[in-house]
């Protein structure tokens, strides 16, 4: 019964993968040999003593696979392993196969810092893909800066941070928020907003940006309520009554974790019909809908950069490969896709720099692009965040989103937005 969802060697998947592997075997040998022939000498690509040999390069994966955050971080681990497997099948990075060392953050922030130190100091990882919550990122940041490591961080987050040692593959707050508010203002004529959030840094910072934008940039925009709930709060009937009383044009919800499920179930039970009441969220991906239940949230709008239903060839191939590796029922949310970008961006950056050295990788990062990104196309900005499009999806009862809007151009990441602090 016990199957670890982050272990690709589950017996049920093994057979299919063996067959795949056998079919590909003759070509793999060719690819590996030719790649190896071009591989530059280790001494040239690794001058700082990272775990790079003539045939292998070691990277770390640092997520919570136990504890409360396992709910969210499992998808990221799966995506990173998929990307690494695909890169290895293509011959690896600079002719070297990627070897993974996985550590469990166990939903405990000091533990994240300890494991990060282990990955950098003991294992000499050339890069680390990991962290999910801002709290865990804040905990490992000094470690990565002190020991000069490279972290690829997948989650959409509040911004107000930039580091030489981190590449942020998710959106920072302004990228995610502003386009969505503009869209709801234009297409729905929305003027009054009720802001809700779980009580910690990301929802509070995001709502602060939302409030500034609503009051300063939207014609007639007005915030008619702003409220926060402790993490794990499960009773929303009082605030739902308040919402019924003030009748806002838009409910703007940034509620996370188990509270999310309670909120949408109670909203539905209270008779708030999301086909009539506009609700815009930036915290519900397909992953969360799994727990909420599609019928409880159908009709709500979510604003982020990726939806599983996105219609483009890159995404079709990605979804297919993901399902092949992890089972057909696994859903793919925004952060899972962003986690998938990490290993690829690192590969391209290393190849651009011609070296695994952290300083060279950090310096080469700006301008690196990934044309095969499932979300379409991304490019790393000077500030180590990604240029990306922002999209609005409408939740369907089957737990997927219909993409109904996307920005015409890539949105510039702006982690320290002027006039929004």
């Amino acid at each position: 019964m016990s199957t670890d969802p982050t272990n690709p060697h589950r017996p049920d998947l093994l057979r299919r993968r063996l067959l795949m592997g056998m079919a590909a075997a003759p070509f793999m040998g060719l690819a590996a040999r030719s790649a190896f022939a071009q591989a530059p000498a280790t001494a040239a690509v690794n001058t700082t003593g990272l775990a790079v040999t003539d045939t292998e390069v070691t990277v770390g994966i640092l997520h919570s696979v136990t504890g409360t955050m396992a709910i969210s971080e499992t998808g990221s681990v799966q995506a990173e392993k998929l990307a690494i497997e695909q890169i290895n099948a293509m011959g690896g990075v600079l002719g070297r196969k990627i070897k993974i060392i996985q550590e469990d953050g166990a939903s405990d922030w000091p533990n994240f810092a300890e494991k990060a130190k282990k990955l950098l100091v003991n294992d000499k990882c050339a890069s680390v893909f990991g962290c999910w919550t801002s709290a865990s990122r804040k905990a490992v940041l000094p470690v990565f800066e002190q020991y000069n490591g490279m972290l690829y961080y997948p989650t959409f987050y509040e911004g107000l941070e930039q580091s030489k040692n981190v590449i942020y593959t998710g959106q920072e707050a302004t990228q995610q928020i502003i386009a969505g508010l503009d869209w709801v203002n234009k297409t729905k004529g929305a003027k009054t907003f009720y802001l809700l959030g779980s009580d910690y840094i990301w929802p509070r910072t995001s709502n602060k940006i939302a409030r500034k934008h609503i009051e300063g940039h939207l014609a007639g925009g007005k915030v008619v309520g702003e409220e926060y709930f402790p993490l794990g709060h499960t009773q929303f009937n009082s605030v739902i009554n308040k919402i019924k009383l003030v009748k806002p044009d838009v409910i703007y919800a940034i509620i996370v974790g188990g509270s999310n499920v309670a909120f949408y179930k109670q909203l539905k039970a209270a008779g708030i019909d999301l086909s009539k009441q506009t609700l815009l969220t930036i915290s519900v991906t397909e992953d969360e809908i799994d727990g909420i239940g599609g019928e409880n949230i159908a009709g709500a709008f979510a604003c982020m950069k990726y939806f599983q239903s996105l219609d483009n060839p890159n995404n079709k191939a990605f979804v297919e490969a993901f399902h092949k590796m992890w089972g057909d029922k696994t859903v793919i949310g925004d952060v899972t896709q962003a986690a998938y970008l990490g290993p690829w961006l690192w590969k391209y950056t290393v190849e651009k720099a011609g070296s695994f050295d952290i300083d060279k990788v950090a310096a080469a990062s700006p301008g690196v692009e990934f044309k095969g990104a499932p979300e379409g196309y991304v490019r790393i900005h000077e500030n180590h965040h990604l240029w990306s499009k922002t999209r609005v999806g409408k939740a369907r009862a089957d737990g997927q989103y219909d993409v109904i809007y996307e920005t015409a151009d890539l949105v510039e990441p702006d982690p320290f937005p002027k006039g929004y602090q």
Binding site: A70, I71, Q235, N241, G257, K265, E288, G291, G293, E295
Partner: protein
């Protein structure tokens, strides 16, 4: 905050708000009853209470899957089957735990805290390994969703009504068992004086096991009911444990009536303050109030006189 509203609007909001308070009250009672029996009557500080609830929730989820896939005709009534099975599953696990772990610790009540906390971690990881780390969505039959339109502006949630009636039924059953049945008499005797109860021929071990099992079984039913309003995941039990202990301790651990009254006080205070202030502040003020009152009355609202 009320300018610009008609009297009728306000009246209906207050009716619905009163109803919201009652739902919260029922939820609290349902959460706390099982713990009140275990903590109050047996003195076992059961930190794994939330995990027993989540076992009930997972049983409900499995039932919903089975009914949907194999006997869709009976899907509208699966919830009742699920609740019964949840009671049996959590109760059985409770009795097993009592036999394997708790009975060795009756003389060391503080150690039960540590042991059951460890148990809760083990159970969480078991759920994670068996059901996966992601939350599962429990499908409800359509008649249990939505709300009843009483007037134009007053709506009451059907699942709220369901939780309320369930709470009433379970409370009545527990009260009957406790105060009218032979088992209840034995439990009360053991609580008052374990040695003497044993001396007059009560099998205290059997009473303990049954009591623990029933407490856990009720937790399972509560967990089953909460799939309607909350999330079902490996660690969802942690969402309830603080409130549960708050209600039981505030009420005076040994008194079932105290548990009910304390659930009422806390839920009304919280839901009213949530309406006029905000979610986080309401929680802070509620906790401060409870701390203040417990400083004045460390034994809680109600105290039973027992011989130690």
């Amino acid at each position: 905050m009320f300018e610009g509203y008609s009297l009728g609007d306000l009246a209906s909001i207050f009716v619905m708000q009163g109803f919201a308070g009652l739902i919260l009250f029922s939820v609290f009672v349902l959460m706390a009853l099982g713990l009140a029996i275990i903590f109050g009557q047996m003195g076992v500080i059961n930190m794994a209470h939330g995990e027993f609830m989540i076992l009930g929730a997972y049983v409900t989820w499995m039932c919903s899957q089975i009914f949907q896939n194999y006997i869709p005709a009976l899907f509208p009534i699966y919830f009742f089957v699920a609740m019964a099975l949840a009671f049996v599953a959590s109760g059985a696990l409770g009795m097993l735990v009592e036999w394997a772990l708790i009975r060795h610790l009756y003389k060391r009540p503080l150690d039960t805290l540590l042991a059951t906390w460890g148990l809760s971690l083990i159970l969480q990881q078991v759920y994670r390994s068996v059901f996966g780390p992601r939350e599962v969505g429990v499908d409800l039959p359509s008649w249990m969703m939505g709300s009843l339109q009483l007037t134009d502006t007053i709506e009451v949630q059907i699942n709220g009504l369901f939780v309320m009636s369930l709470t009433v039924v379970i409370t009545v059953v527990v009260a009957f068992l406790m105060f009218r049945s032979g088992w209840g008499r034995q439990v009360r005797a053991v609580v008052q004086n374990r040695v003497m109860a044993g001396a007059v021929g009560i099998d205290t071990e059997k009473v303990d096991r049954l009591t623990f099992g029933i407490g856990c079984g009720i937790a399972g039913v509560a967990g089953s009911a909460f799939t309607m309003i909350g999330s079902t995941g490996p660690t969802a039990g942690q969402l309830y444990i603080v409130d549960t202990f708050l209600v039981v301790v505030f009420g005076g651990a040994q008194s079932l009536l105290g548990t009910i009254l304390s659930a009422f006080t806390i839920s009304q205070a919280q839901s009213t303050m949530e309406f006029f202030l905000s979610g986080s502040i309401a929680k802070v003020l509620t906790l401060l109030g409870v701390v203040g009152i417990l400083m004045l009355r460390p034994q809680g609202l109600f105290v039973l006189k027992i011989r130690r």
